[in-house]
Homo-oligomer: 336 residues x 2
Amino acid sequence: MAVTIKDIAKYAGVSVTTVSRALNGYPDVSEETREKIKKIAEELNYSPNSIARGLVTNKTHTVGLVVSELIKPGAYHPFFLEILAGIKAGLRKDKYDLILYTVDPASQDVTPYEKLCNDRKVDGAIVEGLKLSDPYIDEIKNTKIPTVLIDIPILNDKVGYVSSDNVQAAFEATSYLVKLGHKNIGFINGHNDAAVSFERLEGYKKALYKSNIPYKDEYVVFDDFTQDGGYNCFRKMIFENPEITAVFHASDLMAIGSLKAAQDLGMRVPEDISIVGFDDIELASLITPGLTTVRQENYKIGYMAARHLISIIKGEKPKHIVVPHRLVIRQSAKKI
Amino acid sequence: MAVTIKDIAKYAGVSVTTVSRALNGYPDVSEETREKIKKIAEELNYSPNSIARGLVTNKTHTVGLVVSELIKPGAYHPFFLEILAGIKAGLRKDKYDLILYTVDPASQDVTPYEKLCNDRKVDGAIVEGLKLSDPYIDEIKNTKIPTVLIDIPILNDKVGYVSSDNVQAAFEATSYLVKLGHKNIGFINGHNDAAVSFERLEGYKKALYKSNIPYKDEYVVFDDFTQDGGYNCFRKMIFENPEITAVFHASDLMAIGSLKAAQDLGMRVPEDISIVGFDDIELASLITPGLTTVRQENYKIGYMAARHLISIIKGEKPKHIVVPHRLVIRQSAKKI
DNA sequence: AAATTAAACCAAAACGTTTTGGAAAAGGTG
DNA sequence: CACCTTTTCCAAAACGTTTTGGTTTAATTT
């Protein structure tokens, strides 16, 4: 059996209370005994039973990461890893552990959000990749569990969120195309089930408005954030509006889909059509032509989410944290 | 406060013992009271406190996933997500939760393996991405904690491993190149700190031997599994051995590096040089030319690892599980 | 009717901590 | 020296379960 606080107490000839208080840095134990206890604990290779501790403190020093759609067949979440890495880095400082929940809306097993968290007694949770229509959203709107969402604007007593400034980012991307001389600019947006889609549309509109380019409904179309989505949308859009010379996309995957579609249609990128994406996934720099896109600092988003969650757990007020983005100019968009 | 077993006992007018035994399906409680208790539990929205349970049963129904090098700057682990998805699927059946440890050899905080696991009281762990030189390896060799390794051959009372048949896979890939008529076949291998590197080298040699092609030391070179590694190795290899017409790689990233290098050197793939990779990452099908490569069933590897770990936890004997691979033929290798 | 067995239940201990509410010892003050 | 503080310690309770080792009641067998 593992060595417990009792063993130490016995060895040291003190009570378990004293051992506990010595090890946890309480002031009411003399330096002398504290040292003795610490030494014994060291020698016995003692490490506290976190379960027992959790039972009494009602804190586990564990946070959940709730992620949806990790495993959409054929399309692994393109930047989950970056976010995850950021989260881990953010948690490391305060020694929080991470327990990973992948919720699969398809599966029957739709454990309610609060139950999910309470069953494992996490101190808080980060939520990522949820659609607006997900039932969790409503639950989270009035949960008492410290929660930080990524890319979903919900704010209350215990929940905050972090995201890029999608309006501004889309504004910049579209403005860049305008600056290159494009007037007929399509927008292949993500589905309506994502908060970012609305924000990006707003940014797109804003950029057009500012340049006195009339907004046309038929120039914007919604679909999945996937490559196939981009592929199909592009064909349709170009077929119906051949005057379009540039297309802005709500994701790099979609942009890459468009790229393929353009190639298949015998169009050259960027000579015949300019393409701009969103995300700056790894792939964006590897394909030819390199994809001009909006870089999201996903690592930082994850990092901030973790730090903010910890602060909420510690009692601070939740807020909206915006993480900077930047336009990465490569070869897929060109002056006309 | 959350509702406990005591509340139910009070409502039902029975002891906590009976509630516990009723809920856990013990036979010594009448169907009548069992139903009553179940109903009350349902109504009160009771869900057992896993911490308290864990304290007495000494089981947490949680497994750890220990992964190294998740976050090598610039190179996110290319198929971690697939493995992770498989692991989650494998755990779901038995309702095990997953807690994620990313060990960062660079950081000072090298918590010993056993301490890592014991502190959080995981029932077992899956270990992935470790180098052979990692100190964890030695610890795991004689740990008592149920463990399943991915791609690292260690077998004992409590630890098993799962991997592809790397010898056979490399054999097939090399043989394919031989079949295409290549005689001067380079091999850009991974570093010596990975078990798979040795196995793949063996397969490569075997294929040459079988076809009576003499093995040449200068045709094989070791490096990281990264794109840069491939890029640099390829340049060097081709420069020193211009007679080479095909190169087999220990990873797709390296193969892609070679592809870039070849392009930069003005060589056409596959016309001037045939390239074969290993892994079949997503990118492999997206680039042009499509990369011929060995597909590793990473999802399945993860799945099997999880299932096997659970079986070890339940007391079964650890073993080596090999997960099938297959050669995926695309356009990057060609007959000469 | 007494003895045995089976079914249904329960009180208390246990798990390993932290926390509560003191108590004892030591030191200081008048 | 009597009183008050401060310092240092501790016994017991608490956290919410499961498990142990019963007891009680009813049914069955002799």
